[in-house]
């Protein structure tokens, strides 16, 4: 139902202000926000959590809930004011001209309705199409979102599809009525990297094909670089900088944008030579914003008497660039090309002796078909298959892989929550693979500790922070009296750079980054020598990520801890790890030093992973590899090489060997091994995935 006669901007937001009203006070969520999206243009909206980017999207949809209210400004859709629109007109526009895609695909699909019916509903309601026409349209759109066997998909229920497929269906639903504006609210955050890359690719292609304008909300600068034409950076409810992608990425004119870029691990950053620079301080709460510039208290260029004057700061145009504006009073005085003030450099520590050795570790689960009576067929899930590696004292070993690759199972076996099916785990030459945690001695338990992924889950919500650390000390038999343990607990808080007053706080009074620090303090309570960090920063905002990562590195240097860093984010892995292990469906497909893994020859899966990770740097060109399909289920793994179903190099191997045999482990060079059938020549011919353009 595209209106062809209109050729002005699709969406014009002018000085929009949105507030939420609570019993105590009004909380301004968005202030003085302006943006324009032209036909076919994609605008990226970037910022940390709580900065108001999702509120803008909901404001455009006029769906702010009972407490939310637009208190000023205007939103024009194709020249028509939306703030004063009648409910009927809004209902007309929503879903047909403006469509929205949310973060959780499962939550946006009705679990009790077949996909085809859900899709067909859209044109039936908005255009009055007959059911058969609508189903035909659905089939067409599902084919467009590149789902295999569209006819079968239309007949299935949402839970029968994988996360990536569900998100494609949500995108298909949004495209059913050929909207002129598509709002995407973090559409890929819940997906794995390789699946994310495929979905992003799809969104880009469809945007071109249908000529749809997009409002793309994300916290990931790299993703915005890959998908959008223009970008708007938000901080604490305000747009602080906006302009074209090239202008903002290469000639940023706001201190917050600059700080943001310095806190993300781009190629070239390195934990020893060029550590990340975290943004000091905390994100202000909406009702505790400072006077003057919101970013003032955290800004390197803060000038007293100017930046904290109680005057509204406008968006100033940057001359010479196309519609490039910044909300900074000093942007003309700041030397934006000044070299980065490199933080304290540290020497790379030499790895010490081997403390942990895995030898042919296997972990199989038996899944019974019938839980009540235990009978029926049993299926074997091979969660870990012949895992062998060594970890040395003071070394960071990154374990990389997507969901279902067996990294969490491996962590469980190492911690003793599960016992191994076969193989050995040697901790200081003592076999511990068969000793469950109840039978391990305190020393062993205290030596191997873990930092968890979700900061909101890692602390017990009904115990004070201090009490939780003291409990760990009690269990590890540190200290002889309560007073001694309390003293040690306060020292641990110092270690993770938290104020001592936090000891008596409840976890809900802490921010995500602070909780994660407490989690780290708890792990180090018994002077752990091996710490398994399971994606410790992936749920944190970028500026906090840098601070927590640096903290981990610092503690590691001091205590010579061996860090097993589980992650799917290759940028951060490159930044902090010494060696990298890539896992896929329970197999180690590649293992080597960071330099070896990040340079050719690669395992084909590593190559695809590297290509999938979005990098927020315009000077980088990437080889484009999009994996087909989804990760196979560990219940039903493919025959032969686990990666053969999605591998782009499969045709290079003769005789269909990949489908028949699991490849052997091959040593390519000192300490670098891959599990692949490709010939030496093919491996040698591989080109690097990431290339930094010559300046």
């Amino acid at each position: 139902m595209t209106d062809t006669t209109y050729d002005g901007p699709i969406l014009e937001i002018d000085k929009l202000s949105i507030s939420f009203f609570t019993r105590l006070r009004e909380i301004p969520a968005v202030m003085d926000f302006s943006a324009t999206i032209r036909p076919g243009e994609a605008l990226g909206l970037v910022g940390e959590s709580g900065c108001g980017k999702s509120t803008v999207a909901l404001g455009v949809m006029q769906d702010l809930g009972v407490n939310g209210r637009i208190v000023g400004g205007s939103i024009k859709f194709k020249g028509e004011e939306m703030n004063t629109m009648s409910r009927e007109r809004l209902r007309d526009i929503r879903g047909s001209q403006i469509a929205m895609i949310y973060q959780e695909p499962m939550a946006s699909l009705n679990p009790a309705m077949k996909i085809g019916k859900q899709l067909a509903e859209v044109p039936m309601i908005h255009e009055g199409l007959s059911e058969s026409d609508a189903l035909a349209r659905a089939l067409e759109v599902v084919t467009d979102v590149k789902l295999p066997d569209p006819a079968r998909i239309l007949k299935s229920y949402p839970h029968q599809l994988s996360g990536g497929q569900q998100q494609r269906i949500v995108i298909a639903m949004a495209l059913m009525s050929k909207p002129s504006l598509l709002i995407l609210d973090e559409p890929t955050t819940a997906l794995d990297v390789t699946v994310e890359a495929a979905v992003v690719e799809l969104v880009k292609d469809l945007g071109k094909k249908y000529g749809t304008s997009m409002l793309f909300i994300s916290h990931n600068l790299g993703l915005v670089l890959e998908t959008c034409d223009r970008i708007c950076v938000m901080y604490s409810g305000e747009a602080v900088e906006r302009g074209s992608i090239e202008d903002v990425f290469d000639e940023m004119q706001h201190p917050y944008t600059q700080a943001l870029f310095r806190s993300i691990p781009l190629p070239g950053a390195n934990k020893n030579a060029r550590p990340l620079i975290a943004i000091p301080g905390n994100f202000p709460l909406p009702h505790e914003r400072p006077t003057g510039c919101n970013f003032g208290p955290r800004c390197d260029y803060f000038e007293d008497g100017l930046c904290n004057e109680n005057l509204p700061i406008e968006m100033y145009p940057v001359h010479g660039n196309d519609r490039h504006q910044t909300r900074c009073l000093r942007f003309q005085e700041i030397d934006w090309n000044a070299p980065i003030d490199v933080g304290a450099q540290t020497a790379k520590p030499e790895p010490g002796r081997v403390v942990l050795k895995m030898d042919n570790l296997k972990k199989y689960y038996e899944v019974a078909a019938n839980a009540l009576f235990g009978g029926g067929d049993k299926k074997v899930v091979k969660a870990n298959e012949t895992l062998s590696f060594e970890a040395r004292e003071g070394e960071t070993l990154a374990i990389v892989g997507e969901s279902g690759c067996g990294k969490s199972t491996f962590a469980k076996v190492l911690m003793g929550l599960e016992t191994a099916t076969d193989g050995q785990i040697l901790l200081d030459n003592k076999a511990i693979q068969d000793i469950p945690i109840e039978e391990r001695d305190t020393k062993t338990i205290a030596d191997v500790q873990m930092v968890f992924q979700n900061p909101f889950d890692t602390l017990n919500p009904s115990m004070t922070v201090g009490r939780q650390i003291i409990r760990a000390l009690e269990i590890f038999q540190v200290g002889n009296s309560d007073a001694e343990r309390r003293e040690r607990m306060l020292e641990l808080l110092d270690l993770v750079k938290l104020p001592r007053a936090f000891a008596d706080r409840m976890p809900r009074q802490l921010s995500g980054g602070q909780k994660q620090r407490v989690g780290i303090a708890r792990a180090f309570a018994g002077d752990a020598r091996i710490v398994v960090a399971d994606e410790p920063v992936s749920a944190l905002d970028v500026s906090v990520q840098a601070a927590v990562t640096d903290l981990l590195m610092e503690i590691q240097r001091e205590h010579k801890t061996t860090l097993l860093f589980i992650s799917h984010d290759l940028s951060i892995v490159r930044y902090l790890s010494d060696r990298v292990m890539v896992m896929y469906l329970g197999h180690v497909v590649e293992l080597g030093s960071t330099d070896q893994v990040f340079a050719p020859p690669y395992h084909p899966y590593t190559e695809a992973l590297l290509s999938a990770v979005p990098i927020a740097d315009t000077s980088i060109t990437k080889k484009h590899i999009v994996l087909e399909g989804d990760i196979p289920s560990a219940m039903n793994p493919p025959s032969g090489c686990p990666f053969q179903t999605r591998c782009g190099w499969k045709s290079q191997v003769a005789n269909g060997l990949c489908e028949k045999e699991v490849p052997p482990v091959r040593i390519l060079s000192e300490g670098h091994q891959v599990k692949c059938h490709l010939s030496d020549r093919d491996l040698a011919d591989m080109e690097p995935v990431i290339q930094i353009a010559a300046e």
């Binding site: 009203f21 873990m450 009904s462 009690e474 269990i475």
Partner: protein
């Protein structure tokens, strides 16, 4: 002495006012309902000071009228109670006299509310309850009966006559009747009349509250202990243990409860050792619960654990032994000077049946919560620290399940209260002359068509207590979700 009328001298002013207020309220509410089908909806508007205001012509006006009328009704009712309490005895009729009798309760309620509201920001969830009108009303109703029960049971206040004494000539007399000279009592009237054995209904209602308020929460607490001790491991371990326990729970839930009650109170069973044995099994659960709770927490510091365990378990064991040891039964092993109290075997039966009926439901709730909470990272963190299973269950999972459990506890006291009423109604458990509400309703039922007044007061008392508990649970649920 003249018999008392309902409102006395107070009625001359307040009765017409009450009538007008009620009529206004009904009319305004009706018009508002009719208008809401046709008039334009109200629009929210934000003010400069950051508040929201509803604006809407006709409909908004009638909404305000309804509210004003409601306040008027409430004020008049408060007038009956407050003025009645202050006027000299007899002037303000039956309502005034009852209000005067409850004077200590009013004082306690006022003190409690003033203190709680003044310090509500420092009192956690209890303080937050005072942010919710519904929660405050519920809490007020519950505390009214709790204070009544305590004052009547422990200090022998409030009640005007002995609940068991019969006064000849007052059989089935209507409320406000004058007692003959020489009757032992604090006032010269039967405020709510006499029942068919010529006892004072008002005093019986007040003494009944003591029985209900003492038994219902305690019995519910035991049901919770049993449900929690079984539900936590079922949810935490899952697997076969869960399957078996859940099956048993389903079996008990499917069993006809009334039949069970009748079985439990047949004289053959009451006189057999079965109730005592069941009580022995049932009441051991709190001991196990606290022993495991404290041991899992302090087992790393034996120097601290042993004294704590000895003291706590010592006290609990003494209570336990006094509870089950009883003269004249097979388990009369404690010497009399050491035996703290004896429990009527009828009440024991009530306890057993309440626990039997309620614990499977509690089990299911706890199991569901444990299933959810065991996937949390802090549970994994405790396990990787090498904590025992019971520490994880009791200190990591249980405290975080407290929100839904507290709400359910309030609701369940309500169910138990009704269950007590049902038991009393069937004449089960408690002795027949007991003034508890269930038995009194049952007695009043027999002559309901001729004399309605003996059955109504205990029924209204039961209703208000259960309503209060339900509102309290609602308020708690509402407030615990906000943060």
């Amino acid at each position: 002495m003249e018999p008392l009328s309902w409102t006395g001298a107070l009625g001359t002013f307040l009765n017409p006012a009450f009538g007008i207020a009620v009529i206004c309220l009904l009319a305004s509410a009706f018009i508002q309902m009719v208008l809401s089908f046709t008039a334009s909806p109200m629009r929210m508007q934000s003010n400069a000071d950051g508040t929201l205001v509803k604006r809407g012509g006709f409909l908004g006006m009638f909404e305000q009228t309804t509210q004003a009328a409601l306040w008027a009704v409430i004020l008049v009712i408060l007038g009956y109670i407050a003025v009645g309490a202050l006027m000299p005895y007899g002037q303000a009729g039956i309502i005034g006299a009852m209000s005067k009798q409850f004077f200590p309760v009013w004082i306690l309620l006022t003190v409690m509310f003033v203190l709680s509201i003044a310090f509500k920001r420092h009192l956690g969830l209890y303080g937050k309850l005072f942010d919710s009108i519904v929660g405050m009303i519920g809490f007020g109703l519950v505390m009214f009966w709790v204070f009544t029960a305590i004052l009547a049971g422990a200090f022998d206040m409030l009640a005007t006559f002995d609940p068991l004494t019969q006064v000849s000539g007052l059989k089935n007399k209507t409320p406000g009747v004058t007692v003959p000279d020489g009757t032992v009592g604090s006032i010269p009237h039967y405020l709510l009349g006499g029942d068919n054995l010529a006892r004072d209904i008002f005093s019986r209602m007040i003494h009944g509250s003591t029985i209900v308020v003492a038994i219902a929460p305690l019995a519910t607490l035991f049901a919770f202990m049993v449900g929690i001790t079984l539900g936590l491991p079922a949810g935490f371990y899952g697997g076969r243990l869960d399957t078996i326990l859940s099956f048993l729970a389903n079996l008990i839930l499917a069993f006809p409860v009334i039949l069970l009650f009748f079985l439990l109170v047949t004289p053959e069973i009451v006189n057999s050792p079965i109730p005592t044995v069941m009580a022995m099994v049932l009441f051991i659960f709190p001991l196990i619960f606290f022993a495991v709770l404290l041991n899992s927490r302090y087992h790393t510091q034996p120097a601290k654990r042993t004294p704590i365990l000895v003291v706590v378990l010592g006290v609990l064991a003494w209570l336990y032994l006094s509870l089950i040891s009883q003269e004249g039964t097979s388990v009369a092993f404690l010497p009399n000077w050491f035996d703290l109290f004896d429990i009527n075997s009828g009440i024991l039966v009530v306890f057993v049946s309440v626990v039997f009926v309620n614990s499977p439901t509690v089990y299911r709730i706890v199991r569901g919560l444990a299933l959810d909470l065991r996937t949390r990272d802090y549970v994994a963190a405790a396990q990787t620290r090498g904590e025992g299973a019971w520490y994880v269950m009791l200190w990591e999972i249980l405290p975080n399940a407290r929100g839904p459990l507290i709400v359910d506890f309030c609701l369940r006291i309500g169910y138990t209260t009704i269950l007590l009423g049902t038991l009393g109604f069937f004449g089960l458990g408690l002795p027949p002359e007991s003034p508890d509400w269930g038995s009194t309703i049952n007695e009043g039922r027999k002559l309901l068509l001729i004399f309605a007044h003996p059955a109504l007061p205990p029924a209204i008392a039961l209703l208000s207590l259960v309503l209060g508990l339900n509102l309290l649970a609602d308020g708690l649920r509402e407030e615990s979700l906000k943060d």
